[in-house]
């Protein structure tokens, strides 16, 4: 365990994060959309998800490890599921809070349900959805530390090694890059936010 192993571990960590967030984003978006079409279901589904969300990631990864063993899939599925929650919640919240006047206008203009969703509702909910993606990204960077717990590498390796050998330097060697990674990925999502938020909805002063 030395600084020479850092680039590989960082890359591994980044890979865990990006793939899991990608899975979580797609899953969260689709489920969020489905839930927003049937708001009556949300009264049941959202509380269940919240309860599920409170199960510590370490417990969930541990359980999945017991069932599936030490596979890449174990980590990606576990992190992916956790990454789903913020996106799902924000997608649902964003779609539900679209001002009804726009939905009525869309229907009145002769848009089908799908056209209304893709041309009007999703663009209007986009700032909230991307907010969910940001949360999900930053969380996943920290949860990905757990991958090393089942021997799959990433920055967690340094932290666990440091903890077990009482080497603070080693802990920091894992923790600081993880924190920086969270910061950098968060900033990247912010950059994305500026591109996907419809021009007409950006605050004054942000117009190019």
């Amino acid at each position: 365990m030395s600084i020479h192993d850092l680039p590989a571990a960082l890359l591994q960590h980044l890979m865990f994060t990006v793939i899991s967030v990608a899975i979580g984003f797609v899953l969260g978006l689709v489920l969020g959309i489905l839930l927003s079409r049937k708001p009556s279901l949300s009264g049941v589904v959202l509380p269940i998800l919240s309860v599920f969300n409170t199960i510590p990631g370490i417990v969930f990864i541990g359980l999945l490890f017991l069932v599936w063993g030490s596979h890449l899939a174990t980590v990606l599925v576990a992190l992916g599921i956790y990454a789903t929650f913020p996106v799902l919640k924000n997608t649902y919240a964003g779609l539900i809070s679209v001002d009804p006047q726009y939905i009525e206008a869309a229907r009145g203009c002769g848009m089908s349900a799908g056209q209304s969703l893709f041309r009007v509702e999703l663009p209007l909910a986009m700032p909230t959805i991307i907010g969910g993606l940001r949360m999900s990204t930053v969380y996943t960077v920290s949860w990905a530390v757990l991958a090393s717990m089942i021997g799959l590498g990433g920055l967690g390796t340094f932290i666990y090694a440091g903890l077990s050998s009482n080497d603070n330097g080693l802990i920091l060697l894992g923790a600081i890059p993880a924190a920086l990674l969270a910061f950098v990925l968060g900033s990247l999502v912010d950059l994305l936010q500026r591109h996907v938020v419809p021009k007409g909805m950006r605050k004054a002063g942000e117009h190019a």
Binding site: D99, Q101, Y102, E104, A105, A106, R107, G108, C109, G110, M111, S112, Q115, R119, V120, P123, L124, P198, K199, G200, M201
Partner: protein
């Protein structure tokens, strides 16, 4: 063009619309009006099937709209809503072309439409086409809202209280614009409002609704002249023309219910009557209640001791007018004659009332201050 046949809507036991039947002609501006909750907006939304009736049929150009695809139907009916509802994620040009885009018009065709539409409301293409709704005032936004409804040139345009959120100045100018657009394009408009002034200004025909029923359907002039119910009259309120001062008659200015005596009454009786009523003259009528003249206390004092009844003392020096006479002439007569009152007679020469300076003044005050 647009025909409702026995259309009803109920939610459970509650009747929202109750057996509506009416027809709107092509090229007409029909205005639905009534108190809130009367069903006018519901009626409007049935035309583009945002709300479906529980009974009855709606025909557009003879075709039952229930047989048409909802989405396709709406693409051929313009729709303007009160909250404007321009899509904030789209530019003015994109908003105008929402329906043409849905109908898969070419890009060039859409661009032509945007230019023509903006030109119609005198908004320069270069200045506005690429703006976002949030960069414009409410009035400009609703102008675009109207253009969006007109862009695919639908034969019918529905407007649901489109101007009620705008300030009065903007509302006036948009009303005029809608009126001129409607006449220029010769489309059928159905317009919902709660503002009678708007209805009277815009409508070819006004449909007044209350509690889910049509109370009266008539052109504005006819509704003004013959409002069907007291409620409509209340809605018309100040728009019903008060009689102009020129049309006032003596009857409007007189004090009715004046006391008269018969010519055969005795002197003493009349004197005590005058004292009791604190007047110095009495109006005398004959047996058929026809006007004979007046007797004054001065004459009675002078010659009352030589006669028994008041008949010989009757004088005809008090000016008389008829109930239908022009009020201004009565006023002139009252002032120029120097008499303290005029006697107003009906067609059979019976006494209807009198005009005094006081009754005249109070009638004028009524005119002036209501």
């Amino acid at each position: 063009m647009l025909r409702f046949e026995h259309v009803s809507l109920s939610y459970g036991p509650q009747k929202i619309l109750d057996d509506l039947s009416f027809e709107i002609q092509e090229g007409q501006m029909a205005v639905l009006i009534g108190p809130s909750g009367c069903g006018k907006t519901t009626t409007l939304k049935m035309i583009n099937r945002l709300i479906e009736p529980s009974a009855g049929k709606i025909y557009i150009n003879g075709e039952n709209i229930i047989d048409k695809d909802k989405v396709d139907l709406r693409r051929h009916i313009g729709y303007v809503i009160q909250q404007i509802g321009l899509f904030p994620n789209m530019t003015v040009a994109q908003n105008i072309c929402v329906v043409p885009t849905l109908l898969k018009y070419s890009k060039e065709e859409c661009d032509r439409i945007v230019r023509r539409m903006l030109d119609m409301v005198n908004m320069p293409y270069e200045q506005y086409a690429h703006k976002y709704p949030s960069e414009m005032s409410g009035g400009q936004q609703q102008r675009i809202g109207i253009l969006r409804a007109l862009a695919a040139s639908p034969p019918i345009v529905l407007m649901d209280e489109p101007f009620s959120a705008l300030d009065p100045m903007t509302r006036r100018s948009l009303q005029q614009e809608v009126r001129s657009l409607q006449q220029k394009l010769n489309k059928t408009f159905v317009f919902v409002t709660h503002d009678m002034e708007e209805a009277l200004d815009l409508a070819d025909v006004i449909i007044f609704m209350n509690q889910g029923k049509i109370v009266q359907m008539a052109p504005p002039e006819e509704m003004l002249a013959h409002p069907a119910t007291g409620q409509i009259q209340d809605f018309l309120g100040k728009f019903i023309n008060d009689p102009s001062p020129k049309d006032l008659t003596a009857a409007d200015f007189m004090r009715a219910g004046v006391y008269t005596v018969s010519a055969s009454r005795g002197i003493n009786e009349c004197v005590s009557m005058m004292q009791r009523r604190n007047v110095d003259t009495l109006i005398v009528v004959d047996d058929q209640k026809k006007y004979q003249g007046t007797v004054s206390i001065a004459d009675i004092r002078l010659t009352g001791h030589v006669v028994k009844t008041i008949e010989p003392l009757i004088r005809c020096n008090t000016p008389t007018v008829h109930a239908g006479d022009n009020a201004k002439d009565c006023f002139d007569l009252l002032i120029s004659s120097g008499a303290s009152y005029l006697v107003v007679l009906d067609e059979e020469e019976r006494v209807d009332g009198i005009i005094t300076k006081t009754s005249m003044a109070s009638a004028m005050a009524e005119q002036l201050w209501g």
